[in-house]
Symmetry: C2
Subunit: 328 residues, 2 copies
């Protein structure tokens, strides 16, 4: 079992991270009001796995995406952005009947409400390309949103099995929300099943609450480990992250930035920094610090895809120096 | 068979018009650009049958709506407007899983492109309330959009059969668009079947083209009558409407307004004026003139639901005086 002081030996792969999940339109209200009162909306590039990949590319990693959009104007808009960022789209599928998914969100100082319009995303179909791509990848990253509906769920579960059989590193964002699932009991079971197969999971306190009910951070960590998770990174909002390997005392890493402009996509930025660290042979602890550092740059700018400085700059700015610590 | 010089004897009903169809969010771009380039959208009340009913209410008719929205913020917004306009919502259904439908449209000087997100609308379920409501109504109005998916289509077909058995007046907007239908051949068959059962249909030249292919207005009229349509009102855009009973020479009624600000919802306004005329015992010819008059007021304002003057004012303004002509 991995500890937070270990680093992973990454074999030479043509792709660092392949993600399975949604790319979608975020329609954000311009008004700060309940959604039913909002009249004006602005369209943004969205979808957590898509944000993670774009951020990974900007940190100089090679990525590929298994996803599906509608063969429509919104699908064209999203794939054009992914192409510009050089995300490999060999496994991007285009649906002739179902449209590109959208989530409406209201701007809000409190918890925003959201209204999802599923479409092509639920239709990701199994094919040989997917397995070929996973073979070439070091890390297989899976989102949760995509798991709630079939056939996308079946395709995901088979692809994860394939990745496990080929000793790929599994990174999973275990976010369970009952309203997305036709059967919420089954939903929890499936999320737990993938958690048990994962090397890295990064739940938020909110994710833990929706899966386990009300409890404290330490107990949440224990519950994730009891299911079978490898490394658990529990995000605590303004209190940073709690990282645990299930054997040693959990380590708390504070938020690196005091200036907070917009937290949208902070978790996705964390993933991109963290996985960059893992791919570059950092210890898990240093990779988590790098995750925090990338997130710190993100929350000082607006939007899920604010610009990121080069990896070396981020590392020196936040004094993340694995060699000085003897960690590489 | 009815001729355009006939008027219908309307029995005393508690509801003048019951409509079966969609109420939805029209998301219109603020930019005049292809949809894939549009970033900003404004939300409007939409759905052709919903617009027809609101306009009918404003012309002092009693209406009821058989429709379905999501139990969500957009559904609340739309039903609040229908309630304010006093449309009877005893047969409004609320879906716990599927969201309120949306159509994205770009602002454009050419033909705008549109991108539909279906949801609760496809799920209208049969129940006793629907039949009770139809029993109490004079005119049963059916849209086409709602027919392309089941169970809403099955519920529609059974309700039309019920209305026919109870000698209700059937008004149908026969708009066939292949991309909405899983099976476009079957789609055409179903549209034709309902046309054959209708007292009034109001296709546009575009609708006729999508159903029959390229032809001229006179042949289109003949084709609609050959299927079995009663009165056909073919809308010709800036050339007004062509009204035909299949026996006499078709009558062309020009557009009544030279000032054109926005044609959105002009067809729905026509329906509301036309059906008001029918309910008030005007001849079909005078009712069509009233339809044109209401549409003329509409196109001089912005939005599908621009304000409408009282019926008497519209009739005197456009010199629609059925008694002078000996038509009542």
């Amino acid at each position: 079992m991995l500890t937070i002081n270990d680093s992973l030996e990454i074999k030479d792969n043509s792709i660092d991270v392949t993600a399975y999940g949604e790319v979608l339109i975020d329609m954000i209200s311009r008004e700060e009001a309940p959604l039913r009162q909002c009249q004006n909306f602005t369209r943004y590039f969205g979808g957590s796995p898509a944000n993670v990949l774009v951020n990974l590319q900007r940190l100089n990693n090679a990525t590929a995406f298994i996803s599906r959009v509608g063969r429509d104007d919104f699908g064209e808009y999203l794939t054009a952005i992914l192409e510009e960022e050089n995300v490999n789209l060999d496994c991007m599928q285009f649906d002739d009947k179902l449209a590109t998914p959208i989530i409406f969100v209201n701007k809000s100082k409190e918890t925003p409400s959201w209204l999802p319009y599923r479409g092509a995303d639920i239709n990701i179909e199994e094919n040989k390309n997917i397995y070929e791509k996973i073979k070439q990848t070091a890390v297989y990253f899976i989102g949760s949103f995509i798991l709630s509906q079939n056939p996308a769920r079946k395709t995901a579960l088979k692809s994860i099995e394939f990745a496990l059989n080929h000793n790929k590193i599994i990174a999973f964002d275990p976010s369970f929300r009952a309203r997305l699932w036709p059967d919420s009991k089954k939903g929890k079971e499936i999320i737990k099943e993938i958690i048990s197969e994962s090397d890295f999971i990064k739940p938020s306190l909110d994710d833990a609450f929706h899966l386990f009910g009300k409890d404290n951070p330490e107990n949440y960590l224990k519950k994730y480990h009891d299911i079978g998770a490898g490394i658990v990174i529990l995000t605590l909002g303004k209190n940073g992250v709690l990282i645990s390997d299930g054997k040693n005392e959990p380590l708390q890493i504070p938020v690196f930035s005091k200036k907070v402009i917009d937290v949208t996509g902070a978790g996705d930025s964390f993933w991109s920094g963290f996985l960059s660290g893992i791919i570059n042979g950092l210890t898990i602890r240093a990779a988590a610090e790098l995750g925090n550092a990338v997130a710190a740059f993100k929350i000082q700018g607006v939007g899920a895809l604010s610009s990121i400085p080069p990896l070396s700059e981020i590392m020196s700015y936040y004094n993340i120096n694995p060699s000085e610590r003897g960690e590489i």
